[in-house]
Amino acid sequence: MIKVLLLDNDEMIHSYFEKIIDKTEIDFHQERKSEYLEKKYLEESATFDLAFMNLFLDDGFYIVDFLEKKNEIFSSSKLILLSPMADFELFQNLLQLGAYEILQKPFALNSVLHLISEYKKSIQKGLS
């Protein structure tokens, strides 16, 4: 079972994810504050296979700061960034800093399922 995190303070995004994610197949965690990353996962050394994160959070979280220390916290996680804005230069930098994929809002929910499915396929390929 793959472990997926959603970190966003947009409730609409949370409700969309809840609708499409099959919790019998995915260990799905939802968070709205960045302190979750800082405390729980650093302390417990927990990690995710896929982490969907918004570029900004209301509590001052900014993805660029996070990506700089990503390897300490989410060394093996693939980060999919959810962006409410379109800035190509920023996106290029984010990809260079280690983001796996960037989804511009609004995005089709199928894109989320597609990314999860692609990740599952890549694991199966790796295993075989």
Binding site: A86, F88, Y100, H114
Partner: protein
């Protein structure tokens, strides 16, 4: 049935259960009132008869007997009376000292009566009084024995008669039973009648509307209710028909629209505020395909052949673009502009990869297509593809009368300029450094050159799939 089950039940139960409850309640009330009224009237009538008889016997006793001396005669007289009137249970003659001096029940003789009313009756010398006792409906009358009634005369004694009202009780019970049966039959008939009427005017139409709406939700817009009724239910049916006709028209328009634009764009155009012009800034990957030497080629072919050939090529392009998650934005003469990531992105990198995959697939399909043309001695088709990623404006552009969902911006223009460079480098697919920066880890690329394209100060690095 619990309250929750009731609220979840169908409309027939929701209407019938309260209705039957109301009918049962009102019937029970009516039955109770009628029964009580009949009972009161019957008891009143029995009391009148009893007191009348009691008065008559009392007058006879006063006239014919000396109460103090003729106790034995009175005893015999009272027995005779009781025999004449089988509904009399007991007759007592009570002295002013409350002693029973003659009685049809010999065991009671010479005992002192406990009736509290006696003192009052003796003191006031009132006319006969009667009362009943539950539950056997025993009517008791008590009559002073005196020449006339009134306070100024002290009565010689009191005559107490108990009448048996069992027959009346049986009669009332029979009446109650037959009335209950009658009311239940009326209730059942009334409920059945109301159910039939409700079925005809409300429930059946709603059921058929539900069935039709189910078919509509499955996409069958040919179905009609053809409701002729003019009441509220009929108007709902007519509105459903109008709605279905509107949906059918919209679907037809959408179906026609899909032939000219992609399904995603058709959906977006149909489902958003159609009069709102303008667009959104998005990041997407643009693929520009152009047929080389088309002018020369078209001069050698008939108009019909040119159109057929273009349609065949555009079908190949359209199929591969759609299969890889892109949309055909527009056909510009012999060129095709397609976009990946509009109206909805599958991810910045995924969109760029999809564009390159689509370009490779077009290249392969066109190779097969050209082989078929060669076999027919037809000239082969050469083409070039330019791919670029970046910011663009996507939205409904045009006038209120005629608008289209399209993409505009430097990213789009750059894709067209990159396509033109294919001729110079003898390549079929070229992509910009911006697209390369997104997918170089996933797809192998070969650097072609760095060129200065029109409108750009900096050089643009070009890549081609390896």
């Amino acid at each position: 049935m619990t309250l929750t089950e009731f609220f979840k039940s169908n409309i027939k139960i929701k209407i019938m259960v309260p209705l039957v409850l109301v009918l049962i309640f009102s019937t029970s009330i009516t039955l109770y009132i009628n029964y009580t009224k009949i009972k009161e009237t019957s008891l009143e009538s029995e009391a009148q008869n009893g007191t009348g008889l009691s008065e008559m016997i009392s007058t006879n006793i006063y006239r014919q007997f000396d109460i103090e001396k003729d106790a034995r005669l009175l005893q015999s007289f009272l027995s005779g009376i009781k025999k004449k009137f089988p509904n009399m249970l007991q007759i007592d003659l009570i002295s002013v000292d409350k002693i029973i001096i003659a009685s049809t029940d010999e065991d009671s003789l010479d005992s002192k009566t406990k009736d509290v009313i006696i003192s009052d009756l003796i003191a006031t010398n009132k006319a006969a009084v009667a009362w009943t006792e539950e539950p056997y409906y025993v009517l008791t009358t008590m009559t002073p024995i005196s020449p006339k009634k009134g306070q100024d005369i002290v009565p010689l004694g009191l005559l107490k008669i108990k009448f048996d009202l069992k027959n009346l009780n049986v009669l009332l019970n029979d009446l109650l039973f037959s009335n209950t049966i009658l009311y239940l039959l009326t209730l059942a008939t009334l409920s059945a009648f109301i159910l039939v009427i409700l079925n005809k005017i409300i429930i059946n139409p709603i059921s058929s509307y539900k069935k039709v709406l189910g078919e509509i939700s499955k996409g069958d817009y040919s179905i009609r209710l053809d409701e002729k009724r003019t009441d509220e239910i009929g108007l709902i049916g007519q509105s459903i028909d109008e709605m279905v006709m509107g949906l059918a028209e919209k679907e037809k328009l959408k179906s026609t629209f899909n032939k000219f634009v992609s399904k995603e764009v058709a959906d977006l155009m149909m489902n958003t505020d159609s009069d709102r012009l303008g667009g959104d800034k998005r990041i997407a990957t643009v693929m520009f395909l152009d047929i080389r030497g088309f002018t020369t080629l078209s001069e050698k072919l008939s108009g019909e052949s040119v159109v057929r050939m273009l349609n065949e090529i555009f079908s190949i392009v359209s199929n591969e673009v759609t299969a890889n998650g892109g949309i055909i934005d527009k056909y510009i003469g012999d060129a095709v502009l397609s976009v990946f990531g509009i109206p909805f992105s599958q991810g910045l990198k995924t969109d760029a990869m999809n564009a390159v995959k689509a370009a490779n697939a077009i290249k392969l399909s066109m190779f097969d297509y050209n082989k078929k043309r060669e076999a027919k001695n037809q000239p082969i088709i050469k083409f070039g593809i330019g791919i670029n990623s970046g910011e663009l404006i996507a939205g409904k552009i045009g006038s209120i009368e005629r608008m289209e969902y399209t993409v505009i911006g430097d990213t789009v223009n750059m894709a067209a300029r990159i396509e033109k460079e294919n001729k110079k480098y003898y390549t079929t697919i070229l992509l910009s450094g911006d697209t390369h920066s997104l997918i170089h880890k996933e797809l192998p690329m070969k650097r072609v050159d760095a060129v200065k394209l029109t409108g750009r100060e900096k050089e643009t690095v070009l890549f081609t799939p390896a």
